[in-house]
């Protein structure tokens, strides 16, 4: 498999249990790819393996380089970024400091202020709360901060784990609008989501993960009309 990022026959184990089994997927430059599936299907595990927080077997290629043995930090330096499900914000630190730390991996610091201004333009709420501790933000603001912090690293591939989790419908729409708009920046996105309809409406391509295996894949516009998926994940009959 080719593309800007690809996983080939990736298997991830917790002790001796295979949480993800022989998964292969590929993302082209500027593409939004989603992985949908039920709770416990292995979606988060897949992202943890992609960023290097979990060890995996199989092949991981990013921009033609094998990153399978690289540390998390080396992958981040190559601009592979993850916004995890728990957000992992620095709750005692200010919004501005959280954003600044997002740019930690950039060696060229000259554009950091410009990127910060762009993030504030995209999320004006963060600018209003820049001196506030991250731990005091609302759920939606925390997600905005997590996204903004990842954008500070100027990612080439941004992996988002359940960005809509626990958010009000209005905020969810805003978050997905933001994700769609990132395509214009040329950022490739790997989106893991339980909200399958919103994910497929935003993505170009989709994979369906069940019990650790890819059971279906195809262009998102086709998957959204697939009768089986409509019944299983899209709330249809």
């Amino acid at each position: 498999m080719s593309g800007m990022f690809s996983m080939t026959d990736v298997t991830v184990c917790y002790d001796n249990v295979e949480a993800v089994r022989n998964v292969s997927l590929s993302i082209e430059e500027g593409q939004i790819v989603t992985v949908i599936g039920p709770n416990g299907a292995g979606k988060t595990t897949l992202l943890m393996a992609a960023i290097g927080l979990l060890a995996s077997r199989g092949r991981l290629l990013f921009q033609g380089n094998d990153i399978g043995r690289m540390s998390v930090e080396d992958r981040v330096e190559r601009r592979l970024c993850l916004v995890p499900e728990k957000r992992e914000l620095f709750s005692d630190m200010s919004v501005a400091d959280n954003l600044l730390l997002g740019s930690y991996s950039l060696r060229d610091r000259s554009g950091v202020q410009k990127t910060l201004d762009e993030v504030y333009d995209r999320f004006p709420r963060l600018k209003e709360r820049q001196r506030q501790a991250a731990g005091t933000l609302s759920g939606g603001e925390r997600q905005m901060l997590a996204l903004g912090r990842a954008l500070m690293a100027k990612p080439k591939l941004l992996m988002l784990d359940e960005p809509s989790l626990g958010l009000a419908p209005l905020i969810v729409r805003e978050i997905f609008r933001t994700i769609a708009s990132l395509r214009d920046l040329g950022v490739s996105i790997l989106l893991v989501e339980q909200n399958a309809r919103a994910a497929l409406e935003t993505a170009d391509y989709g994979y369906v993960l069940e019990t650790g295996e890819v059971v279906q894949s195809g262009p998102a516009k086709d998957l959204i009309h697939d009768p089986r998926l409509i019944t299983a994940y899209l709330g249809g009959h």
Binding site: R69, V72, E73, E77, F90, D92, L101, Y104, S105
Partner: protein, 347 residues
């Protein structure tokens, strides 16, 4: 006890507490960034005093040999680790940081010694010689078990302290030392005579605490250390390397312990094993701050200093018993407080 005596004891207590505060802040710094309760910090303070005393006596201190041995060991371990992970491309960097820099420091100190440097230079040399020790020990001892439990890390930390005490005897000998005062000035405040050394101790503690505050709040590296302390996984996802953050924390902590050793050496006789009590009392102070708060640790350490000073007056023999008995109510209070917050989290 008259008010005059109380004032003298209070000033003495604040000065002793300021020394403990420096070590306590270093202890909190290391713990929050690496989860290691670094018991040998007191040893680092004592070794600095012994190093300075050796330099004063125009002898090259045993610290030099200790740094050379630790640097060689750390380099060897780093190379083995690189071979195992297939990352030999990082070898030049490892040779620079683990071998060349420590050896350069020792070489520089050795050369400087020949010129019979003044006290200010000897102070810098003592600090330069002492600061590589903790980061090298981190590479040799703690990094291979960095993912272990806090209890495991603490057990190893205690073992390391005893190993260092043995090495201290080997490198510095059994004699106690007291260095010359850094200043002979004194002043009178509200009828109480305050020595320049006491003032220097308090000023140094304030200056270093202030510098640490500026470092944490106004530099990206300082913020990255805070981030690692707050959220290790989150910081890794920003590209902050925990090992590097740990090394910086050990360097800073060593510097603070070294300064406290230099400050305490003119007022107390320091032996190769004097560090244990310094470190333990600073640890009590750090526990008052919950092992996470710098101001809390500093206040706790000054409290320990004051308690020790007044306890010495009442019963010199029982002063340590009184200070360490303080731990029991604090630990009970802390355990109740943490139980409360756990319940809050569950809710």
């Amino acid at each position: 006890m008259t008010s005059d005596i109380a004032a003298i004891l209070a000033i003495d207590g604040i000065a002793t507490g300021a020394v403990y505060a420096l070590v306590a802040i270093g202890t909190v710094l290391i713990f929050t960034v690496t989860r290691v309760i670094f018991i040998p910090f007191g040893d680092i303070a004592a070794f600095t005093a012994l190093t300075l005393a050796a330099l004063d006596a125009k002898r090259f201190p045993g610290t030099g040999a200790l740094v050379v041995i630790l640097a060689c060991l750390a380099t060897l371990i780093e190379i083995i680790s690189m071979v195992r992970s297939g990352e030999l491309r990082l070898l030049p960097r490892a040779l620079l940081f683990y071998l060349a820099l420590p050896l350069a420091v020792v070489g520089l100190a050795w050369l400087a010694m020949r010129a019979e440097p003044p006290l200010a230079v000897r102070l810098v040399l003592a600090l330069m010689l002492i600061t590589p020790i903790a980061p090298l020990l981190d590479r040799i001892v703690f990094r291979p078990i960095a993912d272990g439990t806090v209890l495991l890390l603490l057990t190893v930390s205690v073992a390391l302290h005893f190993a260092l005490v043995g090495l201290g005897l080997l490198f510095f000998g059994p004699e106690g030392v007291r260095t010359e005062p850094l200043t002979s000035l004194s002043t009178e405040l509200a009828g109480v005579l305050i020595s320049g050394q006491t003032m220097l101790i308090v000023i140094a503690a304030l200056v270093f605490s202030g510098l640490l505050y500026l470092f944490f709040d106004f530099t990206l590296v300082g913020k990255s250390l805070r981030a690692t302390a707050v959220n290790r996984t989150g910081s890794r996802l920003m590209g902050i390397r925990p090992a590097r953050a740990g090394t910086i924390a050990y360097l800073l902590g060593s510097l603070m312990a070294g300064v406290s050793g230099i400050l305490i050496a003119p007022v107390n006789t320091v032996f190769y094993d004097s560090g244990f009590l310094i470190g333990l009392k600073a640890f009590v102070g750090a526990i008052v701050g919950g092992m996470t708060s710098y101001p809390g640790a500093a206040i706790g350490a000054v409290g320990v200093g004051l308690l020790e000073s007044f306890a010495s007056f009442e019963s010199s023999a029982l002063k340590d018993v009184i200070v360490f008995s303080l731990l029991i109510p604090i630990l009970i209070w802390r355990s109740l407080a943490s139980l409360h917050s756990d319940e809050e989290i569950e809710e």
